[in-house]
C-alpha cells in the first residue's frame, strides 16, 4: 500500500500529545527512488506512523463501545487519568483526558465495571495502541436507571419529595441566588430573562461545574455558599440540556439532600422539559428549563407598568367615588334641611296677610268707633244742658252747689245760682210753691 500524504496531513494537527517531528517524513519520502529488489527499511517512526494510520482508517475502532473492568487507574498532575481496562482474558490501555474526565459521570476506580465509548489509536512515541475514552459510565448491576429508581424510592420514603415540604416562591424577590456554570448559555439565558423581565432583582451567582464526576460535590458546595448568604429570597439551580450522563449529578443523593435542606425555596431548572431528575423532585418548584426557572422566580416586569397603572386608576376611581358620595350626601342633607325647615316665605306671606287682615279689622273697628263716637257726640250734644239752656231753660244750683230739682229743697232767703245759656245769675229765694210738676214747662 502506498503512502497517503493526504491522510498524514489530516492526522498531523490531531496529535497535540505527541512531540512534533517535522523534518523526518518530509525529507525522506520524496527522495525515495522507485523500489528495486532491495528490502525497504523503515525507521521506527515511520512504522509506528503506518500502524497508526491503519488504526485510524478502521471504521469500527474509530467509534467503539467496550465493556470491561477498570484496573490500576492513575491520576498524574496533568489532570488526565490512565488505567487498564480488562476482562478475564485480555487487557487494554485506556486514556481519559482531563476534559473528558471532567465530564464523566464516574471517576474510574479499581475494579469498577464500566462501559466506555471512545476510539482506539496508536501512540507512536511508545509504540502502543490504547483506548481514548470519550465517555465512561458504570455498567452492569450499577446501571444508571436502576440506581436512579432505587435512590428515588429511598429518598421518597424519607419524605424529601413530600408536597408538604414545598414552599411558595416569594412574589417580589430582592435577591436570587443562582447555582450554575458561569460560562455557557444557561447563565446568559438567565441573566437575559431577568434583565428583560425584572431587572430590580439582585442576582448572586454561586458558580459550579454542573457535569462530570466532580459536579455533585461542587453543586453541593455552591448551594451551601448560598445558604450562608443573608437575605436571599429564592435559589435557582440550573443546567442546560444534555445526555442522561451529563445530567447525572442532579440525581446524586448529596445534591438532592442539599436541595432539601435549603433555607429558602429552590427552583430547579435542569435540561429540557422531558428531563426529570431527583433534584427536580426535591425542589420547591420544578422549572422545565433554566429560562423558565428565571421566569418562575420573578414577577413579569413588562406587565408591572400595567399593574401599577391599574392601581393608580383604582385610587382615582375610589377618590372620585368618594367625592361623588360626599356630593350626594351634601345634596341629601340639603334636601332634608329644606324639607324640615319652616317656610319663611309662606310665613312672611301669612304674616303679611295677618297684618293686613289685622289692619283692616282695626280700621273697621276704628271706623265703627269713630262713627259711634260721632253719634255719641250728637247724642251728647242733644242731651247737653248747653243746648237746653240755648232753648231757654236754666239750671239752678242750691246753696250746697247741687242742681236744684225740688222746690222743697230750699227755703226763702236761700241763695241760688241760676245758670243761663250765657252767664249766671246769683239771686235769693222769695218763696217756694208745691212740688212744681205741673208748670215746669211753662
Amino acid at each position: 500500500m502506498a503512502d497517503q500524504p493526504s491522510l498524514w496531513d489530516q492526522l498531523q494537527p490531531e496529535q497535540p500529545e505527541q512531540p512534533e517531528q517535522p523534518e523526518q517524513p518530509q525529507t525522506g519520502r520524496p527522495q525515495e527512488p522507485p523500489a528495486r529488489a532491495a528490502p525497504r527499511i523503515l525507521r521506527v517512526t515511520d512504522l509506528n506512523r503506518r500502524v497508526r494510520s491503519l488504526l485510524d482508517a478502521d471504521s469500527v475502532l474509530g467509534d467503539v463501545w467496550v465493556e470491561g473492568e477498570v484496573s490500576q487507574p492513575s491520576f498524574p498532575p496533568s489532570g488526565h487519568c490512565f488505567f487498564t481496562l480488562k476482562d478475564a482474558n485480555s487487557q487494554l490501555r485506556a486514556a481519559l483526558f482531563r476534559e473528558e474526565l471532567g465530564r464523566a459521570v464516574v471517576r474510574p476506580e479499581h475494579g469498577m465495571n464500566v462501559i466506555i465509548h471512545g476510539r482506539v489509536r496508536a501512540y507512536e512515541p511508545q509504540g502502543v495502541y490504547q483506548l481514548y475514552v470519550e465517555s465512561i459510565t458504570p455498567a452492569g448491576a450499577g446501571d444508571l436507571h436502576a440506581r436512579y429508581e432505587a435512590l428515588r424510592r429511598e429518598l421518597a420514603a424519607a419524605g424529601l419529595f413530600d408536597d408538604a415540604r414545598k414552599r411558595p416562591i416569594p412574589r417580589w424577590p430582592r435577591r436570587i441566588g443562582v447555582v450554575t456554570s458561569p460560562v455557557g448559555a444557561v447563565w446568559r439565558d438567565i441573566t437575559n430573562v431577568l434583565r428583560r423581565r425584572y431587572p430590580l432583582v439582585e442576582l448572586v451567582l454561586s458558580p459550579s461545574v454542573v457535569q462530570g464526576a466532580t459536579a455533585a460535590p461542587a453543586v453541593v458546595r455552591a448551594l451551601q455558599r448560598l445558604y450562608a448568604q443573608e437575605g436571599l429570597d429564592t435559589i435557582i439551580l440550573a443546567r442546560g440540556g444534555g445526555s442522561l450522563e451529563d445530567l447525572w449529578c442532579f440525581n446524586d443523593e448529596r445534591v438532592v439532600r442539599a436541595i432539601a435542606e435549603a433555607p429558602v425555596p429552590v427552583i430547579v431548572g435542569v435540561g429540557h422539559e422531558s428531563d426529570v431528575t431527583l433534584a427536580d423532585f426535591a425542589a420547591d418548584l420544578r422549572a422545565p428549563t433554566p429560562s423558565a426557572a428565571a421566569e418562575l422566580a420573578t414577577p413579569d416586569g413588562t406587565q408591572l407598568t400595567t399593574i401599577l397603572g391599574r392601581l393608580r386608576d383604582r385610587s382615582t376611581a375610589a377618590l372620585l367615588g368618594r367625592a361623588a358620595d360626599q356630593r350626594r350626601f351634601v345634596e341629601a342633607e340639603e334636601r332634608a334641611l329644606v324639607r324640615l325647615s319652616p317656610d319663611i316665605g309662606a310665613a312672611r306671606q301669612r304674616t303679611a296677610d295677618l297684618i293686613d287682615r289685622g289692619g283692616r279689622a282695626l280700621d273697621d273697628r276704628l271706623e265703627r268707633r269713630r262713627m259711634l263716637l260721632a253719634s255719641s257726640h250728637d247724642a251728647l250734644r242733644t242731651l247737653s244742658p248747653t243746648a237746653t239752656l240755648e232753648r231757654g231753660y236754666a239750671v239752678a244750683r242750691g246753696p250746697d252747689g247741687r242742681i236744684l230739682r225740688d222746690a222743697t229743697a230750699v227755703g226763702a232767703g236761700d241763695p241760688l245760682q241760676v245758670i243761663l245759656a250765657r252767664g249766671t245769675v246769683d239771686t235769693r229765694v222769695e218763696k217756694t210753691t208745691g212740688d212744681g210738676t205741673e208748670d215746669l214747662i211753662t
Binding site: 431587572p199 430590580l200 393608580r312 368618594r322
Partner: protein, 85 residues
C-alpha cells in the same frame, strides 16, 4: 415598611430608593384604604396624593432598574465546562 408617617417626611427621591416590593405593597394598601370608603373626603384626598407619589416612585424604580450581579468565590472556580446546549 412605608407608613403614613414615613411618607410624610420622605422626599420623592428618598422614596424611590426603597425596595420595589415595599413601594408596591404601600401603594396597594393605600388603594385599599381609599376603596374601603371609611375615610373622609379630606383624608381621601391625602391618600390619593400618597398613592400618586408611590406610583411615581414605582415607575422610577422600574425605569432605572439595572440587573445587579454578585459572584461568590470568583477565584475558587475551576474546571469551567464547555458551552452547553
Amino acid at each position: 415598611m412605608i407608613d403614613d408617617a414615613k411618607l410624610a417626611v420622605l422626599t420623592d427621591d428618598e422614596l424611590a430608593k426603597h425596595p420595589f416590593d415595599e413601594l408596591v405593597v404601600a401603594l396597594q394598601q393605600t388603594v385599599q384604604r381609599l376603596e374601603a370608603g371609611s375615610t373622609g373626603l379630606e383624608e381621601s384626598i391625602e391618600l390619593y396624593k400618597q398613592g400618586l407619589r408611590l406610583h411615581a416612585a414605582c415607575e422610577t424604580r422600574l425605569k432605572k432598574a439595572e440587573l445587579t450581579i454578585t459572584e461568590l468565590g470568583r477565584r475558587g472556580v475551576t474546571g469551567a465546562e464547555p458551552d452547553e446546549a
